[in-house]
Point group: C2
Chain length 141, copies 2
DNA sequence: AATAATAATAGTAATAATTACTATTAACAA
DNA sequence: TTGTTAATAGTAATTATTACTATTATTATT
């Protein structure tokens, strides 16, 4: 993306284009890795030695908001527990944060398809749907 | 599950069946909700007022290990960032924790299928594959 | 049933990722 | 160039989870 286009993108949403933001975006975009906030902080620190963690986190949110990067919420934290131990998918309502079990078959073929295309040992997959649940979209909640 | 079967299940893996474990399992299994560790702590606290957070967390891991409950790692924390903003899937190596972009088409039909079966407003889905990457399974890493 | 060995517990402190706060600095519209 | 205000650096606070430790409870063995 050209620098003036980038600037427009920022101003369009009322953000300012700062050196910090430019370099954070640059560092994330240049590789094929999927760095953590911590790793991004370290990479950027080489170019802006006194940058702070707060600035990195704040700007990751800004860049995500602008659609310039994607945030993948993997995780170790914030688990939910399910008494249903048979393999199944979930739907999460982004409004009320309720999680619903889905009664659709688990697609083992997705793993097979990926095995056929790659050299990965595919063990399992996680499929999570997101949207608005019935109660929330009908104004009941 | 009968109580004696449950006990066998625990002993089989060298765990003891304690009141705390029984009640934690009971509370998770009785509803269709997907409680957080915090919520479980509060539910169990009604029956064992002086239970501690540590006990809940420790036993959630034990119950998961026994296959009696499932842990869904949703999350707010531990994000990874991706410079590739076009919709795509990932493969995560559970050995080296590397994340790979997958070059397989995004299946919009999964959302349509779910829309057809439920009254949810399905907005998007996340599909993550897990397993062992080529380098790790060939002993290179 | 009594005992010995040790796993599990309660209570508390520590950790790790992220977010909030605040005085200072920098971007940019006029 | 200047005034307005968003963004920054630095630090403290927050939140979910884990670690630590003295005490208690469970189970195997007598």
């Amino acid at each position: 993306m050209r620098s003036d286009q980038l600037e427009e993108r920022f101003k369009g949403k009322g953000y300012r284009l700062t050196k910090q933001r430019e370099i954070i975006l640059e560092e994330i975009s240049k590789g094929k890795t999927h760095p953590s906030a911590d790793e991004i902080y370290l990479m950027v620190k080489k170019k802006i030695p006194n940058i702070s963690f707060g600035t990195v986190y704040r700007n990751l949110k800004v860049l995500r908001d602008l659609g310039l990067i994607r945030e993948l919420e993997f995780s170790k934290s914030f688990s939910r527990y399910d008494g249903n131990t048979k393999d199944h998918y979930h739907f999460t309502c982004t409004k009320c944060n309720k999680i619903f079990d889905l009664d659709i078959p688990v697609m083992e073929e997705l793993n097979n398809n990926l095995r056929a295309k790659t050299s990965f040992q595919v063990l399992f997959h996680r499929l999570e749907f997101y949207g608005i649940c019935h109660d929330c979209s009908s104004g009941l909640r």
